[in-house]
């Protein structure tokens, strides 16, 4: 126990220990694998999650072949994929496996771990001026539980009968009578949920307890606020899904019938069951989690975008307070809209009225947040570097995604749109060119902090522009197909149906766009690895930013800061004083203390 409580309170931080001097060699395993340092854990999370994202995307690229050219053998790769693709032609069951696993991997193994585990871990302690997370050991466990959950999901592909194939929503009874892959899916989910719970406890405690002196809640960077609210969503929404997963495991392994009604007949064979369960119960428990979950996907992204926009427009965020209140309100409301995914299950007027009203209400804070970000640009001095491009593109893309949520949220218009590609288009606009773009922005933005080097700008732009075009090439046609009534999760992309014929040509457009998107990720992957060694070397604050993480050395050592930082002002004081040169006042600059 060093007397560090003392030093955190002191006004003379000089006598705080210098981390470098204490840096003893901990060996490879302790430094890189079983590290308790939040930065190492953050990077572990990020890399693992990026790999999963890429893997999830590859699954989809294979599926898109079948969607564009139903029943034609997939060249080259087809032969390697084994049982699911005899002669290179994808079987419907295999398609369903890939679809379910794409959704699961993207959401639970890709975006959440990257946005929360990766960026949250790496950036939050730095931004609040803390030496580490509140519970470093638990932090390490949550990473290791995460990859184990991921491994269980991956292993399930090799089981007899393959991976889970009942969609990422796993609706029973289908999921209960499904192959063993579903059991692994449920087990994997229990791991992932546990990991997220540990993470959430850690984040909340860290943000409440470890803020640097002077860093009041209303001086927190918006990213920290977003992570704070996200952590509460994870903490309180995930346990019911854990409960539901346990119940479904019981149904599968102990022959209970929580989700199975009496009188089920599968392929002409009456099932031997006690019956008396309810399939709707699963849907309620699932969406009680999964709606907050979709805000878990978007809030950190909004946080990243806010940081990047404030920094690169060189002016304070417009309406910081309204942003904070909106994000809190959004988090709160997200718990009471869940049943808008279930309008078509036979819902009476009362419940439908309640849930569509809450859904409309929840769209208002999103509009407020987006408006604040858009207005922040006015009067700025916009620097169009790569992170900024991705952050800017986020705005209209999230706009399309969010706006298409409105007709889905109103029961009457949801009737023709539910479970069509319109829904797929809606949420991919928010998660792919929305969240994924924000995450890319974050990678480009904080890469210098993590490595001490910048990523290449030219390659960055080469990555950005085609990505933007291809993203729209994939997802806009989905809205058109959905309007025409094409259902989702169709192995042949709708070819069976007459009414779908005149929008079928779009399947090819989407598939080529998806492969194009895959191709241009090469620029990113190359840039990423090349820049680790060869990128332009930078100092502590390459983006001339105001928040605390840029006070630490790049990369920050164990313990982060040379001295405990003190905070004197709000997070975004760019160009608040006069003069005609661009200037900024970091949070750690004492009042009156000039350059």
């Amino acid at each position: 126990m060093g007397g560090n409580h003392e030093s955190t309170k002191t006004d003379h931080p000089e006598d705080f220990d210098h981390p470098e001097e204490h840096h003893h060699d901990q060996g490879f395993w302790r430094t890189y694998i079983f590290s308790v340092d939040h930065k190492v854990i953050g990077i572990q999370y990020s890399i693992t999650a990026l790999l999963f994202l890429f893997f999830g995307f590859c699954l989809m690229m294979i599926m898109r072949w079948q969607l564009a050219f139903p029943e034609q053998p997939l060249p080259i790769l087809g032969a390697l994929l084994g049982d699911g693709m005899p002669g290179g032609v994808m079987l419907p069951d295999f398609y369903n496996e890939l679809g379910a696993m794409h959704g699961t991997i993207m959401v639970f193994l890709g975006v959440v771990p990257l946005a929360v585990g990766g960026f949250g871990n790496f950036v939050v302690p730095l931004q609040i001026g803390a030496p580490d997370m509140a519970f470093p050991r638990m932090n390490m466990y949550s990473y290791h539980i995460y990859w184990m959950g991921g491994l269980i999901m991956l292993i399930s592909f090799f089981l007899p009968g393959g991976a889970a194939n009942s969609g990422w929503t796993s609706y029973p009874p289908l999921s209960v009578i499904a192959t063993m892959g579903q059991t692994f899916w449920l087990l994997g989910m229990v791991f992932l949920i546990t990991s997220s719970l540990f993470g959430a406890i850690n984040f909340i405690t860290t943000i409440i307890q470890l803020r640097a002196p002077g860093l009041s809640f209303m001086r927190l960077p918006f990213f920290v606020w977003a992570q704070f609210v996200t952590a509460f969503l994870l903490l309180l929404a995930f346990p019911p899904l854990e409960g539901a997963a346990i119940l479904q495991l019981m149904d599968r392994l102990a022959d209970t019938s929580f989700f199975l009604p009496s009188g089920l007949v599968v392929s002409g064979q009456a099932l031997e069951l006690s019956g008396g369960g309810s399939p709707i119960l699963w849907q309620h428990l699932f969406w009680f989690l999964a709606h907050p979950e979709v805000y878990v996907l978007i809030l950190p992204a909004m946080g990243i975008v806010s940081e990047v926009i404030a920094n690169n427009s060189r002016k304070p965020l417009w309406g910081y307070k309204s942003l904070v209140y909106s994000v809190i309100f959004l988090g709160f409301m997200s718990f009471i809209v869940w049943a808008h995914h279930m309008f078509i299950t036979g819902m009476g007027t009362g419940m439908a009225a309640f849930f569509q009203t809450t859904t409309m209400i929840i769209s208002i804070p999103s509009v407020v947040i987006l408006t604040a970000l858009l207005l922040s640009l006015w009067g700025g001095s916009l620097r169009f570097n790569t992170p900024m491009l991705f952050a800017l593109a986020f705005l209209p893309m999230f706009g399309i995604g969010g706006l298409t949520g409105l007709p889905l949220g109103l029961t009457a218009t949801d009737i023709p749109l539910h479970d069509t590609y319109y829904v797929i288009g809606h949420f991919h606009y928010v998660v792919a060119p929305g969240t994924i773009f924000a995450l890319f922005a974050g990678v480009y933005f904080w890469f210098p902090k993590a490595t001490g080097r910048k990523m290449n700008e030219f390659l960055g732009k080469l990555h950005f522009w085609p990505s933007l075009i291809f993203m729209n090439g994939i997802f806009f046609p989905m809205l058109i197909q959905g309007m025409a009534g094409v259902s989702r999760r169709l192995w042949d992309g709708g070819a069976t149906y007459d009414f779908a014929q005149n929008v079928l040509y779009l399947n090819e457009v989407m598939s080529y766009s998806a492969w194009g998107l895959g191709l241009v990720q090469v620029f990113f992957i190359f840039n990423f690895f090349w820049s680790i060694r060869r990128g332009e070397k930078v100092g502590r604050n390459p983006w001339e930013s105001t928040t605390l993480e840029w006070l630490a050395p790049s990369p920050p050592p164990h313990g982060n800061f040379d001295t405990v930082p003190e905070v004197y002002r709000g997070p975004y004081e760019y160009n608040v004083s006069g003069g005609d040169k661009d200037e900024f006042t970091p949070q750690y600059k004492p009042a009156g203390g000039g350059e």
Binding site: A237, L281, H284, F288, F335, G346, M347, M351
Partner: protein
């Protein structure tokens, strides 16, 4: 709980614990006894009695054993939030059952 407590304070606490212990035992006995009543009173009444007693017992544990009776604001805030969503969760089955489309 602040970390420096005088001997008297602790004594006082211990007395409270013993009192709560007695109350919990008594209430448990009452619940079981009352459950035999349900042949006399309607089911809904006996459910209400049982849950009411359980809530009282739960509150005793939470307030005194878990010291919620004097905790910090931050903890209260977190718990109020939880309680709210917990109630939402309990409402869910009623929502489902009462509002299913029927002719």
């Amino acid at each position: 709980m602040g970390h420096d407590m005088s001997e008297e304070e602790i004594q006082k606490h211990v007395r409270i614990y013993m009192f709560v212990f007695g109350a919990l035992l008594t209430l448990t006995v009452i619940t079981v006894a009352a459950s035999y009543l349900h042949h006399v009173v309607p089911m809904s009444v006996s459910i209400a009695i049982a849950l009411l007693i359980a809530i009282v017992k739960g509150s005793l544990v939470a307030c005194y054993f878990m010291h919620l009776i004097d905790e910090r604001k931050m903890i209260y805030l977190a718990l109020i939030l939880t309680a709210f969503f917990f109630l939402g969760l309990l409402l869910l089955p009623f929502l489902t059952n009462l509002d299913q489309v029927q002719t």
